[in-house]
């Protein structure tokens, strides 16, 4: 029989997970058995320690606060609003309510019989996963051991269960690779290659790979007559080889090839060079797997002869990024690949600029990427932030040297701008005389910022501390880092100032009643995902690694990874920070691609329920890591 009310409830529920993944009949059955109930403001739906009701609840209108009583205090754990489910876990687990549910404003709830849901759970795997995910977001410590990251994993599975993640699939490598013994001559090896019709041969010793010979070696070293064909293979083989375990993913393989500028990887039993060779993975294997190939793009960068080519490659990279995001490939792989390409483009721009100069650089120098680029977290086209450091020179040579590098920096930044990295509006670029300095000047600059930590100085530190050498002399940069740590050591209170800065944006808990959206300006009523969610994590990771004197970790994820090892007691927290950071970065990138902007401001009304849910899960670790900073640096007193 027709039931208009059930139809309306059906229409409402179908917008929200897990109801959105139910079969039509299943959802209609639920809708037809809903009990609608009204709760006045400040009245309880249920109280902590009560026996569970027969129903769980979905908020139709209003807002329900979930509270947990601890030591006579009611702590607000979560706020449920339109479409949120609560009070389900105790019903499934036959447990008492762990929290009280109280109406923060008058609310209309749909009470749904748990029995109907139980039937559905048994037949619908997606619903089951969603529920496990939402349970773990409702418990007090979502990153308790064992459930670590489960929320995120599950959400990801929900979204991607039908997509093909080639990047994290194990790469298909050729088993039974063609080999020659270490004692073979080049001629013997070439004969085997020709017989087996392969382009490369691995040289083995006791079944362990020690080198590789490719067609290219034969062309460039034998056919040219440089080396006799009767020599031993060791004369021309590339050695040592790069070895990996069987489980290498496509993305890892790509990165390894790009990084080492090689085209073949060896797969061995335990992943080291001292174990049995079981296969070989060539670039070709990957190209076959992948039409749109980042290593091809990098190759094109190497071969690029002018800016136009680079600009074209950068545009291609945006397409690649879009494709990756659509396939829901883990953000960590995406950011690695995009960063590699950006870096290659920057290096090429620098090389082209040096060629244009009248003279070679007078002394050693280093080109530094700053901020998000320095942290390799820049996915979308944002503006360029860079700096230049050059070797100290005698006073009489200082001016001409500085002039040279300023001129060079101007050429580089111009090129980057043409390629698509817009000029930094705050002029934080190496072409600015303030940020094109000799090593000792940089040391002084950092020392001043650290020892007179004004608000501006701290702001500068947050940008300049995240530097990454893109091109040039590694030693200069190491010197710089050492000097920064020295300065901090002699002025530890600096860390407290940095800590205060890290807490300037409160955690966005309460997001869904929207009191933490921007209050004014052009982005009124939007959520600033950069400063309210990403930056607190970036700042916390920077501060904590500095306090441990950890060098060479300039990326938020690798910083937290290192921190998790350094402070085992906070491992869970730091790992959950990584999960949050990944989700937030992915989210910002998606938003940016969708709206063709920096992705910084998010319109909450345009988010789907599962997007909201996964964002919401990210805020807890932010809040907790900020609390940790607060206690560790005694910041309450400083505020």
């Amino acid at each position: 029989m027709k039931n208009t009310i059930a139809e309306r409830i059906y229409d409402f529920l179908k917008n929200f997970p897990p109801f959105d993944v139910l079969e039509k009949e299943q959802l209609f059955k639920i809708a037809s058995n809903v009990k609608v109930t009204y709760i006045e403001k400040d009245h309880f739906v249920f109280k902590q320690e009560e026996n569970p009701h027969e129903h769980f609840y979905v908020v139709k209108d209003g807002a329900i606060g979930l509270y947990r009583g601890m030591d006579n205090e009611q702590i607000l754990v979560d706020i449920c609003d339109e479409g949120d489910i609560f009070g389900l876990r105790p019903l499934i687990q036959n447990d008492l309510y762990l929290m009280s549910a109280k109406a923060n404003e008058e609310s209309i709830l749909y009470a749904i019989s748990v029995e109907i849901l139980k039937e559905i759970i048994q037949t619908n795997e997606k619903v089951k996963k969603f529920l496990i995910a939402s349970f773990s977001s409702n418990i007090k410590t979502p990153y308790a051991k064992g459930t670590n990251g489960q929320l995120f994993v599950n959400i990801e599975m929900l979204q991607t269960s039908n997509t093909n993640f080639t990047e994290i699939q194990s790469a298909e490598f050729s088993k039974n690779p063609v080999t020659a013994l270490k004692t073979s001559t080049i001629k013997e090896a070439a004969q085997i290659m020709s017989e087996k019709r392969v382009g490369s041969i691995l040289i083995v010793e006791n079944k362990n790979p020690i080198g590789i010979i490719t067609d290219k070696d034969l062309r460039s070293k034998i056919a040219t007559g440089m080396i006799s064909i009767d020599e031993n293979v060791s004369k021309i083989m590339s050695s040592p080889v790069k070895t990996f375990k069987q489980k290498i993913t496509v993305a890892e393989a790509q990165i390894a090839m790009i990084k080492n500028k090689i085209t073949h990887l060896c797969i061995t039993k335990d992943g080291t060079t001292n174990s049995e060779l079981i296969g070989v993975l060539s670039e070709h294997d990957i190209v076959v797997l992948h039409g749109n190939n980042p290593s091809l793009l990098i190759k094109k960068v190497y071969r690029a002869k002018d800016i136009t080519a680079l600009k074209y490659i950068r545009e291609k990279t945006s397409n690649l990024l879009q494709g990756y995001m659509e396939q829901n490939i883990p953000i960590i792989f995406i950011s690695k690949i995009i960063s590699e390409i950006n870096e290659a483009i920057t290096i090429k721009a620098i090389e082209l600029s040096i060629e244009e100069m009248d003279n070679k650089p007078p002394v050693k120098f280093g080109w530094l990427a700053l901020g998000s680029q320095g942290r390799k977290e820049q996915l979308l086209m944002t503006d360029q932030d860079n700096a230049l450091v050059f070797e100290d020179v005698s006073q009489d040579k200082y001016q001409p040297t500085k002039q040279y590098f300023l001129q060079l920096a101007k050429k580089i930044t111009e090129k980057l701008n043409v390629i698509g990295f817009e000029y930094c509006p705050a002029d934080m670029m190496a072409s600015n005389p303030n940020w094109c300095l000799a090593l000792s000047e940089w040391k002084n600059q950092f020392d001043t910022w650290i020892k007179t930590p004004t608000e501006d100085a701290i702001m500068m530190c947050t940008i300049f501390f995240d530097y990454d050498l893109v091109f040039g002399d590694k030693k200069l940069v190491n010197d710089m880092s050492d000097s920064i740590f020295e300065s901090i050591k002699s002025f530890e209170i600096f860390l407290n100032f940095l800590g205060r800065n890290a807490l300037r944006n409160p955690p966005p808990i309460g997001f869904f009643r929207q009191f933490l959206v921007e209050n004014d300006g052009a982005h009124k009523d939007q959520f600033d995902i950069k400063s309210r969610a990403l930056m607190p994590l970036v700042d916390a990771a920077r501060l904590l690694t500095l306090s441990h004197h950890i060098k060479d970790k300039n990326n938020t994820i690798s910083r937290f990874k290192k921190l998790a090892k350094t402070e085992p007691k906070n491992e869970d927290l730091y790992l959950s920070c990584i999960d949050s950071f990944k989700i937030l970065l992915q989210f910002r990138t998606q938003q940016g691609l969708k709206n063709n902007d920096s992705g910084r401001y998010v319109d909450l009304n345009k988010l789907s329920k599962s997007e909201k849910l996964s964002l919401k899960g990210c805020f807890k670790p932010i809040k907790d890591v900020q609390e940790l900073l607060n206690i560790r640096y005694n910041l309450a007193q400083m505020m």
Partner: protein, 222 residues
């Protein structure tokens, strides 16, 4: 002899109605009472000549609206008023499965059971139903009746004696979202939500019992 004959003439559904309402034990405990929020769509406002097009009803028990205990009955029309089609959208030969008036009324009375009727401007809906019952030579309804309009007047502090509140006005006052206006079951649901909110308010000052609520009525069956 005549009396015996008459009793024989009373149809079974009506006999059941009278017995259930008269013998119900539930009215003493508010949590056990089954309320039924009803709304009717009609061809017009003339009790004599207009007819019910649709009856929508949903039950409320212990402060919960039971979606599974709802009914939506469409009635075949002998009389038809083109003008009201614009409001309720029920055409003479629409797609809904329709019953004739007798089947519809019997079905509704069976559904009603011993429930207390809740409606907005209950007098109108009950009168329309009573007219239909009269054509079946029975009636009027003996169910207890409540009216959200009168309950509001009792709750409202200001002197609202003369004012008659429309459903829209009450939705505004009680912050009830209006969906599916002018479908019988849609209006019944709105009325039911309104009733939940009103009883919650009413409870604050008075231990809630049916007698009190029924006393908010001025001219309905008590």
């Amino acid at each position: 002899m005549i009396r015996f004959f008459k009793k024989k003439l009373v149809p079974e559904f009506w006999q059941n109605h009278l017995e259930k309402v008269r013998n119900s034990q539930k009215y003493s405990n508010f949590e056990n009472i089954r309320f039924v929020a009803i709304d009717t769509e009609t061809t017009g406002f003339d009790y004599e000549n207009d007819r019910i097009l649709c009856i929508g009803a949903v039950a409320i028990k212990n402060n919960k609206i039971l979606v599974s205990d709802a009914i939506e009955i469409y009635i075949k029309q002998a009389v038809f008023n083109k003008e009201t089609v614009k409001i309720h959208g029920i055409r003479k030969d629409g797609n809904e499965i329709k019953l004739n008036e007798e089947e519809a009324v019997i079905k509704f009375i069976d559904y009603l059971d011993d429930a207390v009727i809740v409606a907005h401007h209950t007098g109108f809906d009950v009168n329309m139903i009573n007219q239909a019952l009269k054509r079946l030579k029975v009636g009027p309804l003996e169910s207890k009746q409540l009216d959200t309009n009168y309950i509001h007047k009792k709750i409202a502090k200001t002197d609202t004696y003369k004012k008659i509140f429309s459903l829209e006005e009450l939705c505004e006052i009680y912050n009830v979202k209006m969906h599916d206006r002018h479908t019988a079951l849609g209006d019944a649901l709105i009325t039911a939500i309104l009733f939940l909110k009103q009883t919650a308010k009413y409870k604050k000052n008075n231990a809630l019992n049916l007698i009190d609520l029924v006393n908010t009525n001025y001219h309905l069956l008590k």
